[in-house]
């Protein structure tokens, strides 16, 4: 096996934390306030991912190059998102519009409006 034995944290404790976080994210969704739901859901996902990467995947025990590369991959995805979103995510921009998307959004608003009344 590896030269140095890995430091093994108490996996049961981490498992309990992860389950607790899962309960939090489900509970956040039950509250019914959109902002709270989104914050708990994605906040929990990030915390869970960090816990697993640090304690179970032992990312710290890997060569320093590895966490940098993982971080780079994540940054690249952020970069891709920010490069593509101004075109793909928007129904209109400078000197261009997507008529079908705008119509769909209007229809959705109308149906929401009708549903409320």
């Amino acid at each position: 096996m590896s030269e140095e034995h890995m430091h093994h944290p108490n996996y049961l404790k981490i498992w309990a934390m992860l389950v607790g976080l899962l309960v939090v994210s489900v509970a956040g969704a039950m509250v019914g306030i959109r902002v709270v739901t989104l914050i708990t859901a994605f906040g929990v996902a990030c915390v869970q991912a960090y816990l697993v990467a640090k304690n179970c995947m032992h990312i710290g025990a890997a060569r320093r190059f590895v966490p940098y590369l993982v971080a780079t991959a994540l940054v690249l995805m952020l970069l891709f998102f920010s490069g593509a979103a101004p075109d793909v995510m928007k129904p209109a921009g400078v000197n261009w519009v997507k008529p079908a998307w705008q119509e769909a959004a209007v229809e959705h608003d109308v149906s929401l409006h009708e549903a409320r009344h």
Binding site: L76, A84, N95
Partner: protein, 567 residues
């Protein structure tokens, strides 16, 4: 642990002693055999790609004429030919020959390892690659013909068969490209781990030959950029065959998304093939000018800078493709920024020549031609990266000539430089210098005569992927047709001269002078093995004492100082 494991597995292979032809050459796990398999497959695909170029260039020069050996080039054929010429030359020639063939052959030899760390994965990588090549070739012969929507495969044209009329051809094309990516992901992981973990004792980061660094950085870039396109390929495949609407604007999708997914990979891909070529040029010019590489660390930093910046420039391919005009400003700045590390790399190579003792052997000629020709490709890129000028040049023959001035030096000149330099190591024989020089001039001069006319045609507004320009009054002036004929004639000459290379290759294999271990008096480790190296490379693995470019060190009798020679 890793080292003992690899050693154990490769010794397991040795234990068989005399292996049958099949296990020695076809299903071999030896990195050298896998590298040569990649190389010969690449050459074979290159012949197909060259033949395609011949067919459509003939059509352009002599519209409607029966092309000898092909027949009439219909508009359908024309589109399929240009599409598959581009796809083949980038994914099935440049990638396998530069990254996989030289990477497989050279990395273990240059870092002093007996094989790749995962020999069986290496074999798998080649098998997947071969399968992808077979799928691609099959796609030409299915009903409806090969895919004809350009190598960029923009949907909705590529996504919906009522538009492209090649329902099966476009799906097979996509599957082939996807398989090819998987092959190179597997191969790339092998290159990175081998270079990081199997280096000879004493070989520190700055003692690694440039080509190894470059292939490793290229593999990392490939690994980090190909994912979104693989995901996009899955989405496009489902659009084609299941009826989803990821790229269909009428049903909530967006065709521009594909362009972003494609070019987010597509631009780093250019540097993925560029870096290995520049790496081998660095190794060759230092040997034949008997000079230490000028500012080794600077070169390395320029490589890293290029690698990082290359991820930030992708939308310059989409300036006029419907992206928001404000985004073009960002991508113009990043695109022109990337010219700095690349220019610096070229400056370093030119500076390396200073004070040298230059012999113009065939590999050196190729390496110098790479620098001279790539400079043209580099400077013409500035016209296209500057958003305002790109409005005019986008999708004209100017673009086409520009990227052929980058890809031809990379893939073809780079390949010939590498093969003429490492041929003695690969096959134990020297190549014929006279034939090599005839082939060199017979390739490089016609190459310029093909593409300089195309720059002029592009500047006069000639746009791409048109099978017959006589429908466009502004493009059918006699002087324009003359330039097209000139380009085609030069292509024919260039293709004919490639037979000199094939003759030289076969003749040298058969009758070439015995090479010995180190015919070029080079420093790097591969030259300390037998030519050709046996399975396992060395009977005793080498130890490294210094960097790879210690040529002409003052106070020594010989002008070179091999890496493995104790002080």
């Amino acid at each position: 642990m890793a080292e003992t494991l690899t050693a154990a597995s490769s010794h397991g292979e040795h234990a068989h002693g005399e292996m049958s032809f099949w296990s020695k050459y076809v299903f071999s796990t030896d990195h050298k055999v896998v590298g040569l398999q990649y190389m010969f497959t690449g050459i074979f695909m290159g012949l197909i790609g060259g033949f395609m170029a011949y067919a459509f260039r003939m059509q352009l020069a002599f519209p409607g004429v029966e092309v000898p050996g092909y027949g009439l080039v219909s508009p359908v054929d024309y589109n399929a030919l240009v599409t598959n010429h581009g796809t083949i030359m980038i994914f099935w020639v440049a990638m396998p020959v530069l990254v996989a063939a030289f990477g497989n052959y050279l990395i273990p030899l240059m870092v002093g390892a007996d094989d790749m760390v995962f020999p069986r994965l290496n074999r798998l990588s080649y098998q997947v690659f071969l399968l992808s090549a077979i799928v691609l070739i099959c796609s030409f012969f299915v009903e409806g013909g090969g895919f004809g929507g350009a190598w960029t495969a923009y949907p909705p044209l590529s996504a919906q068969s009522q538009y492209n009329l090649t329902p099966l051809g476009s799906s097979l094309w996509l599957v082939a490209v996807g398989l090819e990516f998987v092959a190179f992901l597997i191969g790339g992981i092998n290159f990175i781990t081998t270079a990081m973990n199997s280096r000879a004792p004493g070989m520190k980061a700055y003692d690694i030959p440039m080509i190894v660094w470059m292939i490793v950085v290229a593999s990392i870039m490939f690994m980090a950029s190909v994912g979104p396109l693989l995901a996009g390929a899955v989405m496009l495949f489902m659009d084609q065959n299941i009826g989803t609407a990821f790229f269909d604007p009428d049903r909530g999708g967006d065709p521009i998304l594909w362009q972003h997914l494609f070019w987010f990979f597509g631009h780093p891909e250019v540097y993925v093939v560029l870096l290995p070529a520049t790496g081998l040029v660095a190794d060759i010019i230092t040997v034949f000018s008997r000079k230490k590489l000028f500012a080794y660390r600077t070169v390395l930093y320029t490589v890293f800078a290029t690698g990082v910046l290359s991820f930030t420039v992708w939308a310059h391919h989409q300036f006029v493709a419907g992206i928001d005009p404000r985004m073009a400003h960002v991508f113009t700045v990043t695109t022109l920024l990337i010219s700095i590390p690349i220019a610096e790399m070229m400056f370093v190579y030119i500076a390396t020549l200073y004070g040298g003792s230059i012999t113009l052997t065939t590999p050196m000629l190729w390496a110098l031609a790479f620098i001279a020709e790539f400079l043209i490709g580099g400077v013409t890129g500035v016209f296209l990266g500057a958003s305002g000028a790109d409005i005019y040049f986008h999708d004209t023959y100017f673009v086409l000539a520009h990227f052929h001035y980058t890809f031809f030096p990379i893939a073809i000149i780079g390949f010939y430089a590498g093969i003429s330099f490492w041929f003695p190591k690969m096959f134990g024989k020297m190549m014929n210098e006279t034939l090599g020089k005839i082939h060199f001039w017979g390739t490089v001069i016609p190459f310029n005569l093909i593409f300089i006319p195309l720059f002029v045609l592009g500047a006069s507004g000639q746009h791409r992927r048109i099978y017959d320009f006589s429908h466009f009054p502004n493009l059918s002036a006699p002087w324009q047709q003359d330039l097209r004929i000139l380009a085609t004639s030069a292509l024919l000459v260039m293709l004919a001269f490639q037979s000199v290379f094939l003759v030289n290759f076969v003749w040298s294999l058969w009758k070439g002078r015995k090479a010995g271990k180190n015919p070029w008096k080079s420093n790097t480790l591969e030259w300390t093995a037998e030519s050709p190296p046996p399975h396992g490379n060395w009977s005793e693995l080498p130890t490294v004492y210094r960097g790879p470019y210690e040529y002409g060190v003052p106070g020594r009798d010989s002008d070179y100082w091999p890496q493995n020679e104790p002080n």
